[in-house]
Symmetry: C2
Subunit: 566 residues, 2 copies
């Protein structure tokens, strides 16, 4: 008799697990239970469906149940909600949400892929008509309908609660539809996983594109208008009139089913799995957003609900359903396929800006107890003489003691996913800064600078680690403005200074620094400032050569300075 | 007394070495001798200067001698040709090409960066007016002038000899100027470092864009017209009328100066250096295109004249001029900065297609004695539902025994530099195929598929290495067409077949394969074919399940098939 595989949840990880299981086990019975109406849909594309960048529901729904039956001989039952798992009897109870019928599905192997759901706190008014979360194709369709009471949504007012990745993507797409958009974020920055100065570049860009961004504000309630629909968002600071609200303050794993079945959860609240996607119960696997990850750097449990990881987990579960069988006539894999961990990599497009991150931010690394060094390096994404080049800022975070790379953030108008993926690969393979410096990366003018931005950043990091230069980051410098023991020296040209400089800075162009350094008080700490950092570095060498002992440069220069100038 | 550094050659590596040396040694005397009229110019941008994509000479010349004096206090002497190095007296003799004066430059440390020159074989007519090589800004200016005898070069005829990277870039740029362009290549493919089927994709694209590409043809002579200028290129097969000829059959290192000084050359003919850029003679360093590299994979001497490598070498030489000195108050680097080796990474844009390569091609890996496995995997460069996605084909080459990745080639309309740089990083850090499979690469619909192309390629490779599927590459299948023991089965849909299939293939759509497999002769080797490989893989599982023993799939499917269809 052929074995039975039941998969609960058919979006990303579940669909992947089922399809890959079919390739591994041509003769098994495979059933997928999905409580929603769609399987295998592209959740990450939903913001663009709102923005009408993606026009048809069909583009987002990768596979239909019919396709799964035809191509893979997999039975997909939509509108079927699994209500109970009995791990002793090895069966799943499910309810047909259309007929109300209760059904029992016995299994030999079970894969749980119940996903995650939007967080909805008990804020008064959060359930009003016109307040949406965004998780399913139906959610997105509801928002699309709300944007079309008239012919065009132009001039409507939208409030996005939450300045994380999804909130920002939604804000962009609402703006592209012509709405007046306000983003309300509880913390003091958008993109909470990023360091402040990097997130600030994104926030500035959003503001330049006409999105109002309110940080450090809490939504306290939502009020309805005379028509019964949402009309006003009330924050800790103000009242914001609105026609539509998208609540995007994150998701949490859907774990009531496994919890009820006695399947162990991890410290993050998601299902605990080993690297083969096995749960605490024999023959039960968990994959996708409902399952826990391990952070490759800290080696601690972590939870990053990402479509890319979900697909990998689904594949790995399928490969481990019967790990001991012979894999093929030419021998088998020496080890069981496993997922050692993830880095929490993210990437975001917002209008003409891109932002990407992997590993630990500076703040996260410090919180983990690392003694960190950082660099902030503006550079071009391709040769400066090739048309269309754009600027990106790379922040590297390294462990001072070992030189190990702990994380990176890249933000700018230019290409950010390439440098982040280079660093993802490097971190995964345990790279130290010196391993990045001499990578033989692809170079031709349409693709890169001769010294790619990543290599330049690694070189600056090595200059710091070897004591050639000392940096001060913008957040720290801002805090120390007004400190009498600190002298800021802007070494840019007079023409560059016209637009302003850091409050309190004095101006000595680099080519005059050697002759005019007598104007500086040697007893003070000197902080040199230029546009990106290179001239400040040269200036620091000049001052050191003149006997100055305490010289620093502003990391990232004026390009990254996120505060006011005067 | 301060030390003296002399640098011979001021283009990429020499200029970099001098500038970095200044930062390391504020009080040294630094002199750069350059025989040409420009220093620090962007050699890799020259094809785009011909194409008028880059419009002004000034855009290509990164730094002037005046800038070097002002910013770095470095004396740059252009039109100064170093004629002799005396390593015992530690001095360089140079001739001022303008005044004819002979000068002597004593040194404490010497950096040789003499570069490379175009290969010009003794072909009759190669020195005719209108025949150019392309190495310097002046060369490019000469070509620009030759393209403007009238108002527009439109309709002129250009012949490019050599189908390597430079030849292809020049061909594209001449075509963009409106010329009729013919490329003549001696070997049977363009991009000789690439495997045949990958190079073929590039050649096809060039032909679609109207460039005539003649492979397997030798230029035997060049004839002049009545005006004394170039008029006809005579190959082993035909006469090609032309107004301008660009000879682009490669470069060789300029080593007469170091050879005369008794400095050792390596087996490639370039100057032998260790990883700190030290030559066989004390206090003499060599960097850039005149110096040898080590191939990271084979660990053998190799020579890859690349601007990116030149910059790294220049930097490393500067850091090793006095390796024992204290680096800074916070301590020094634990090891001397060094370049362990390179991968011969290249990337090319030609019209709307991109092609990149790193490490060993399949042919190179086999020549090195590796037992290799390969995959050819077409995929999209971003989510299929996000506007503007493009296709790329990834070829991975791995060592069968260890799973170590030996090389990769990525070709297509889409982004190729990102996947190649991921693989560059992976190979440099010693990655095996399984290390690529679970990289936490950046994913959002505008940037990548949920399973990025590199991960899909690694998964297919692992399917092969574990015996789940056997492949046959297009070159081998082409050779075996007509073999009676081989049956080709095209499993695509009837609609897809309309445009043609591989000669001799029979057509059984995948969804009929199970029921119609009786039509196939089980004693034969079966080769399944679809568009990209996935359905062929599914089909191979069906046939194996039905008891077929010898089943393969065509790697890359019809997407990569480089030969005729019928």
């Amino acid at each position: 008799m052929s074995k039975k595989l039941v998969v609960i949840g058919g979006v990303a990880a579940g669909a992947k697990a089922a399809a890959k299981a079919r390739r591994e086990h041509p003769d098994w019975e495979i059933v997928v239970l999905e409580k929603g109406e769609d399987i295998s849909y592209a959740g990450c594309g939903l913001p663009y469906f709102i923005g009408d960048v993606i026009k048809e529901r069909e583009e987002l729904v990768v596979r239909t149940p019919e396709y799964f039956k035809d191509a893979f001989n997999i039975d997909v039952l939509v509108h079927h909600e699994a209500t109970r798992v009995d791990v002793d009897k090895k069966e799943v109870c499910a309810k047909d949400l259309v007929t109300g019928e209760e059904k029992v599905f016995p299994y030999d192997k079970l894969v749980i892929a119940t996903g995650a759901s939007p967080v909805k706190p008990r804020v008064p008014g959060i359930d009003l008509p016109g307040v949406f979360t965004l998780r399913t194709v139906s959610d997105a369709e509801g928002i699309r309908r709300a944007l079309l009471p008239k012919d065009s949504p132009r001039g409507m007012k939208g409030v996005v609660v939450g300045g994380g990745m999804i909130g920002i993507e939604v804000a962009e797409n609402l703006k592209l539809r012509g709405l007046d958009v306000t983003v309300v974020e509880l913390t003091d920055q958008v993109l909470p996983g990023f360091d402040f100065e990097m997130a600030r570049l994104v926030q500035k860009h959003m503001e330049e594109k006409g999105v109002r961004v309110l940080t450090g504000e809490k939504v306290e309630s939502i009020e309805k208008g005379e028509d019964g629909k949402v009309a006003t968002v009330i924050t800790s600071q103000r009242r914001i009139p609105c026609d539509v609200v998208i609540w995007a303050t994150g998701v949490r794993p859907d774990t009531s089913l496994p919890k009820g079945a006695g399947i162990e959860l991890g410290p993050t609240g998601a299902i605990k799995v080993n690297e083969n996607m096995e749960t605490s119960v024999k023959d039960v696997f968990a994959v996708g957003d409902c399952a826990e990850n391990v952070n490759l750097i800290t080696q601690k449990p972590a939870w990053y609900p990402m479509g890319s990881t979900a697909n990998k987990m689904g594949r790995i579960a399928a490969l481990n359903l019967e790990p001991d069988r012979v894999l093929g006539e030419e021998g088998g894999a020496k080890t069981r396929p496993g997922l050692k961990g993830v880095l929490g990599t993210t990437v975001l497009k917002v209008f003409d800006m891109n932002a990407a991150k992997t590993g630990l931010s500076e703040a996260q690394a410090r919180a983990e107890g690392f003694d960190v060094e950082t660099v902030l390096v503006p550079a071009n994404d391709r040769a400066h003489y090739y048309p269309g080049y754009r600027m990106i800022v790379t922040k590297l975070v390294a462990d001072k003691k070992t030189g190990r790379i702990l994380g990176a953030q890249v933000v700018g108008d230019g290409v950010v996913d390439k440098p982040i993926d280079i660093i993802v690969t490097a971190i995964t393979l345990g790279a130290r800064v010196e391993d990045l410096q001499n990578l033989d990366l692809a170079y031709a003018p349409p693709f890169s600078m001769a010294m790619s931005s990543t290599i330049v950043a690694a070189n600056v990091m090595m200059n710091k680690l070897t004591g050639r230069v000392k940096g001060i980051d913008p957040v720290t410098l801002k805090r120390r403005l007004g400190d009498e023991n600190l002298q800021i020296v802007d070494v840019r040209t007079p023409a560059e200074i016209v637009l302003g400089t850091i409050p309190g800075a004095i101006h000595i162009p680099l080519n005059e620094l050697s002759s005019r350094c007598g104007e500086l008080d040697r007893s003070k700490e000197q902080v040199l400032v230029c546009k990106v950092g290179l001239r400040a570095y040269l200036g620091s060498l000049i001052l050191k050569n003149k006997g100055f002992e305490n010289v620093k440069i502003l990391d990232g220069g004026m390009t990254v300075w996120p505060y006011e100038i005067e």
